[in-house]
């Protein structure tokens, strides 16, 4: 199979391995043979000197350990039955311990002189890289939180606007239902009053033109105002125009064309027993009005329920908020934490992560109380909290 070779490969020439060449250091096999000191760079020589210093130190530390061992091994016996020997032995042991401590302290000084230099010259400078990176990442994280907060606020405002839009739609719908019902009932009441009047007056030929004129005088109500806070006038107009507008003329025509003929369908017969017919008509009208009112209330109630529906998912980046106890570093604060923790031990205990109860710290108690305060909104005497956003 022929393969194309990248151009840059032509600049390399791979020589066959020499039999006498040292094997490359793999990190696992034998270490490479040491280069002559003169061939090393000053930096390499410095590292070599460090290794030598380390070896010398370890030799000295080992010698120190042996010296300590010599002082504190083969300890004198504890002989309470021989008080004089016990006193002498105690003096000997105390001297030996004092000597051992002195040796150990001297060697610790030696070790510190070396390890402090390592810390100052190697560990701390090495850590500075990650510390600088951490600072950069933290700065970026702060910006990211700021952006998440902004996105979250926008999403919340959108959701609030959407809720207000829903409320506006429910308001318009319910107002239309109310206005329509009131108008219809006003028309029907007028028809009913006319019917009763005709019966009472024993009118042989009711003047329907007169009734129609009276009906046309009745005007539908007006919509109650909705207090807009977030929805713009343009959007409100858009929402209103998207809804089916109430047509009072259709109701007027329905009353003229259907309700009046229906009401007077048995007028001639009713006239023959006018008083009883009027009484029955009164009862029917009352029942009809009550039923219409009930249906209106029901329709408005369903509208209110459906108006609570979410029309859009709020899927904004989340900003986590939690409480953190402000540490006061006073005895009173520590006592307040301990006291509150003990009072609320049942709720706080599950929030603790302790390996040994003996190691439980006041700061851990404060952390558990802060978590509890965040969940329940409860505040604790002698403690203050700040909100942290993540």
């Amino acid at each position: 199979m022929t393969t194309s070779t990248p151009e840059y490969a032509a600049t390399y020439v791979v020589e066959p391995a020499q039999n006498n060449a040292p094997a490359p250091y793999s990190g696992l096999g034998a270490a490479p043979a040491p280069a002559p000191l003169a061939a090393l760079t000053p930096q390499q020589q410095g590292w070599l000197a460090l290794a030598e210093a380390k070896n010398n130190l370890f030799t000295q530390l080992q010698a120190g350990e042996l010296a300590v061992q010599a002082q504190v091994s083969e300890l004198p016996a504890c002989t309470p039955e021989k008080p004089e020997a016990l006193t002498a032995n105690l003096k000997v042991l105390q001297d030996r311990i004092a000597t051992a401590k002195k040796i150990a302290a001297e060697h610790k000084e030696m070790r510190l002189a070396f390890t402090t230099a390592i810390t100052d010259k190697i560990i701390k400078p090495a850590m500075e890289f990650e510390q600088r990176s951490a600072t950069l990442i933290a700065t970026a994280g702060t910006r990211e939180l700021e952006m998440r907060k902004a996105a979250s606020e926008i999403a919340q405002k959108d959701a609030e606007t959407k809720r207000e839009e829903n409320a506006l739609v429910v308001h318009i719908s319910n107002e239309q239902i109310r206005i329509a019902n009131d108008y219809r009932q006003a028309l029907l009441l007028r028809v009913h009053q006319f019917y009763i009047a005709c019966l009472n007056d024993k009118t042989a030929t009711p003047d329907f033109k007169d009734l129609e004129g009276a009906l046309r005088e009745i005007k539908p109500g007006v919509m109650a105002k909705f207090q807009r806070r977030l929805v713009t006038y343009e959007r409100a107009t858009e929402l209103l125009s998207a809804m089916i507008a109430y047509d009072p003329n259709a109701d007027l025509q329905a009353v003229i064309n259907n309700a009046i003929p229906n009401k007077f369908a048995m007028y001639a017969e009713d006239l023959k027993n006018a008083e009883a017919a009027a009484k029955k008509a009164e009862a029917d009208a009352t029942q009809q009005a009550e039923q219409a009112k009930e249906e209106t209330t029901q329709e408005m109630a369903i509208n209110i329920l459906m108006g609570q529906a979410e029309t859009a998912a709020v899927d904004a980046p989340r900003v986590k908020r939690k409480l953190e106890a402000i540490e006061e570093n006073t005895q009173a604060w520590a006592f307040a934490v301990i006291s509150n923790f003990v009072k609320n031990i049942a709720q706080c205990a599950p929030k603790l992560r302790v390996k040994t109860w003996g190691a439980l710290k006041v700061s851990q108690m404060a952390k558990a109380l802060a978590e509890l305060a965040g969940e329940t909104g409860e505040m604790f005497q002698g403690m203050t909290f700040k909100e942290i956003e993540k």
């Binding site: 249906e295 029901q298 329709e299 408005m300 109630a301 369903i302 209110i304 329920l305 459906m306 609570q308 529906a309 979410e310 998912a313």
Partner: protein
């Protein structure tokens, strides 16, 4: 005269059963949504399902709610739901059992359902309300469990023009109200799969 097309779903022989104990409802013949979903397998209720049942019982059939075996969350969740449902509760017939025959393409399926909160009224006022207790976003639960098909089954059986699912989250008591669109595809398929020839 009915002008329904042969492929449309028709609902006939509708019967309501008010105040029917759950155990009696379970013994009634008929295909319910739960049965169709599980293929007739008995599902052992999980603790979360048990909590949902308790909230249902406390809110909808208080007679069946065992206060002694209650859960500390039941009352607050029922209160949250009641806050949303308050406007319509007086029009509802809680835990109404219903049977009906669903007919499609010459096949008939005997349906049964127990509706949380139906409003039986004139068509434009009729409504099915179903209640769920879920930690998840309700939209996800609807998609995952097919609750829209359950609610549409209820709505078909009582002729309700509007359908809505209301959920409460047991973690924070937050409620969600999701209106459900009409679809009868699931029930047509059920009639064809499990129904009998007329």
């Amino acid at each position: 005269m009915s002008t329904a097309s042969p492929n449309s779903l028709q609902v006939v022989n509708v019967r309501f059963y008010r105040d029917l104990e759950f155990s009696d409802y379970m013994r009634m013949p008929g295909y319910s949504f739960s049965w169709l979903k599980s293929g007739g397998q008995k599902i052992e209720p999980t603790p979360k399902m048990q909590l949902g049942t308790k909230v249902h019982n406390y809110l909808l059939s208080a007679r069946e709610y065992l206060h002694a075996e209650g859960h500390e969350l039941v009352r607050p969740l029922a209160v949250s739901l009641k806050g949303v449902l308050a406007p319509v509760l007086r029009y509802c017939s809680p835990e109404l059992a219903v049977t009906a025959d669903f007919v499609c393409q010459g096949m008939v399926l005997h349906y049964k359902g127990r509706i949380d909160l139906p409003v039986i009224s004139k068509p434009h006022l009729s409504l099915v309300i179903d209640i769920k207790v879920t930690e998840n976003d309700l939209r996800r639960s609807i998609d995952f469990f097919g609750y829209h098909n359950q609610v549409n089954g209820y709505a078909l059986s009582i002729g309700a023009q509007r359908r809505v699912i209301i959920s409460v989250n047991p973690k924070n008591g937050v409620t969600q109200v999701i209106p459900i669109a009409y679809t009868d595809d699931f029930w047509k398929m059920a009639v064809l799969k499990y129904g009998k020839p007329i």
